[in-house]
Symmetry: C2
Subunit: 422 residues, 2 copies
């Protein structure tokens, strides 16, 4: 019975955290055909557990375990979290989903190499869900001399300038080789200052590309040697800051019955207020019975605002990038660990924090490491920041569970605004 | 009763590994006055447990716990092990003693800062023994424009060129501020190609400096605000490659009844054969009832040869430096993890190795990290190498305990010579 095989495969690690025994029995005995594809294998199942206003508290079951949302995905661009953080560390700091970049992995070590090694999960030794972006964003932000055509994009590698072609089919093929849990559709992310006419045409092409992504993924998932035959596909809403284009696009892609829907093309230069305005406008038009992902966002405050507007998934390089520069998050806003006032400060970054840095090391020691350019300083700050984000998401979920998210959000924002603790 | 206090202080962490209950009772009840100073505090106690030829298997009790020898000390120059390795990691990989550099810590963050923070143990959050070098070696190898006088050395910082004076008293004061378990005497380390006349005069001055170190440490240890009033002093034998100067110097310093004796000025450019010849000549003239430390040595083979010649303590930057360059130690010699042949190799660096890298990650993944310049690659290789050294020392101790060190050494050297495993 394929269900038992699938559940059994993940049971040793995932059962305690994600499955209760009654839930498992429910799956196996009571709904034997629910969420089964024609291949008899469990598909993703999104269960909305609670709402507060537009905020959603849900869980999303995947072949690599269940994701409790709202969730922050920890970014490991080329299959490693920058700052000497490993997947073992990710388990320790409560990471649910790891995010990797398709374009970077295609360039190095190569998605075919990763496939030969059994896929990204085996390569990184990470058993929980992985989301891969489509490469589209990197093609538009990093590549040299790109040329967009109906079939896809011709561009030059940002590393050595060699010519690459990527279209919807290629992006799906690469992500299939990586074997991620969730693949993102290949889209164009137009500039936030692009004119209305350009955005309109771009979004229409993105819709056509999405249909091709869906067809190609279905084909890839049915091949005998595909690593993850249950790979999921999220579509991406675009439309820059034009609410009507956004809404029309949301309506179009919602018809395609995808596994989840992302809001792309935000956090690319527009103000926070513009971002919130677009979310207010478009999220209600995305399917409520599917996960909603706000791409590349953001600060702790952005996340709280995003949750309030119905977002389930977030990702951002801020916590790791800031950590590498000695900027750490606390309940009272960010701290610059290079600051001279920490020279003799024996307290942890944040009193009471359960991260590996705060449990063992002082501000004075971390400042010394950073000033002496010892890698350990970066590692400790990145671990702290990722833990801070993961822990905040846990608190957000608890608050939603208990119907007090509005209060929690207010308390959090006031804390951040209070500024660095003395 | 001060003894019980002292033992009690370290009991929770050290007792299981280092003390047996009968041994503790023996200390407390049967020899109540042994190893007590006039301040009623336990002093270092070196117990020779077994010999095999000239090889020694011993334990060395200190105020920060007992060291089982032969031991390899893991180098954390400025209070951190390079390669994003923390003291928590050191516990995990079986490190007994951490070694830090006096000169580097004097320059940054400053030994007075470290003292205000409660000493190096608190600063790094490391409860086991720490050995600090005297700064002498760095003064002679790193400093600009140095001028050696009877009172000490005037030189310029290798970082910003500012003028520093360091003599025996200054070195002892800095090490006292750091509060290390074992302080090293301030000596001159003459070039291995220095002429006989220079070496003779230098060694005589080093002897005079040693007497001043001893006096100054006694004074510092008796001050009320000294962090570690039980700080130990090891003297350093010098004499370059002149056996008679070495032996004469060993005889002189042996009279001073120090806590341990080091062989310095080796592994500075002479051949391995010369180093072994000097060890053969001089170690028999150092006290057998005190620990013997071969400074800055070396390769796994050097260590095996050193143990055979009666060495207890070793330290070297090789495992961490090589690790940062992707060179890892195995039972079959070193491997260069950048090598293309590891691209698709799903095996760990070494099959059966219990280090954090080998337990979780493949050669293919580590190679990818190194090539992509991800810090995690360095961290994993450094962890592997330090574990390799610590684990080899454990095997050496087991072999000595069981009277089979000669066989173990032969087996090990043959393994290294066999070359990289396929």
């Amino acid at each position: 019975m394929p269900w038992i095989r699938i559940i059994g495969r993940h049971l040793p690690m995932q059962c305690e955290k994600h499955f209760s025994l009654p839930f498992l029995l429910h799956l196996v005995y009571l709904e034997p055909n629910a969420n089964q594809t024609e291949r008899g294998i469990i598909m993703a199942k999104y269960t909305l557990m609670k709402t507060e206003g537009r905020a959603k508290r849900a869980q999303f079951e995947t072949v690599h375990g269940t994701i409790q949302t709202p969730v922050f995905m920890n970014v490991g661009t080329i299959g490693a979290i920058k700052g000497a953080v490993s997947t073992q560390d990710l388990y320790d700091i409560g990471t649910q989903v790891e995010l990797s970049n398709t374009y970077h992995l295609h360039v190095r070590p190569g998605d075919k190499v990763v496939k030969q090694l059994g896929g990204l999960h085996k390569f990184m030794n990470w058993e929980r869900p992985i989301l891969t972006d489509s490469g589209g964003f990197q093609v538009f932000s990093l590549a040299k001399l790109r040329k967009i055509k109906e079939e896809g994009v011709h561009f030059q590698s940002h590393i050595d300038g060699h010519k690459i072609f990527m279209g919807p089919e290629e992006s799906m093929q690469i992500q299939s080789n990586l074997g991620s849990t969730i693949a993102m559709a290949f889209d164009e992310c137009p500039s936030s200052v692009a004119d209305r006419d350009y955005v309109q045409k771009s979004v229409e092409r993105t819709t056509r590309w999405l249909a091709r992504c869906k067809t190609e993924m279905a084909r890839l998932n049915s091949l005998p040697d595909t690593i993850n035959k249950e790979q999921l596909l999220f579509g991406i809403n675009q439309g820059a800051v034009y609410e009507d284009i956004r809404i029309e696009h949301a309506r179009e892609i919602a018809k395609m019955d995808l596994d989840g829907y992302a809001v792309g093309g935000l956090a690319v230069g527009e103000t926070h207020e513009e971002m919130y305005r677009i979310l207010d406008a478009v999220v209600p038009y995305l399917p409520q019975d599917k996960p909603t992902y706000l791409m590349g966002v953001g600060t702790p405050a952005n996340i709280l605002e995003g949750v309030e507007r119905g977002i389930d998934f977030f990702d951002c390089v801020y916590p790791s990038r800031n950590g590498r520069h000695g900027h750490v998050y606390t309940n009272h806003g960010k701290m610059n660990m290079f600051n001279a006032k920490y020279e003799l400060d024996t307290r942890p970054i944040e009193e009471g924090c359960g991260c590996p840095a705060c449990r063992h090391y002082s501000r004075a020691y971390i400042r010394h490491l950073l000033k002496a350019k010892e890698m350990l300083g970066m590692r400790l700050c990145v671990l702290h920041n990722l833990y801070f984000y993961n822990h905040m998401m846990e608190e957000i979920r608890d608050a939603l569970d208990e119907g007090r998210f509005a209060d929690y959000k207010k308390m959090r924002l006031e804390g951040f605004a209070a500024g660095e603790q003395k």
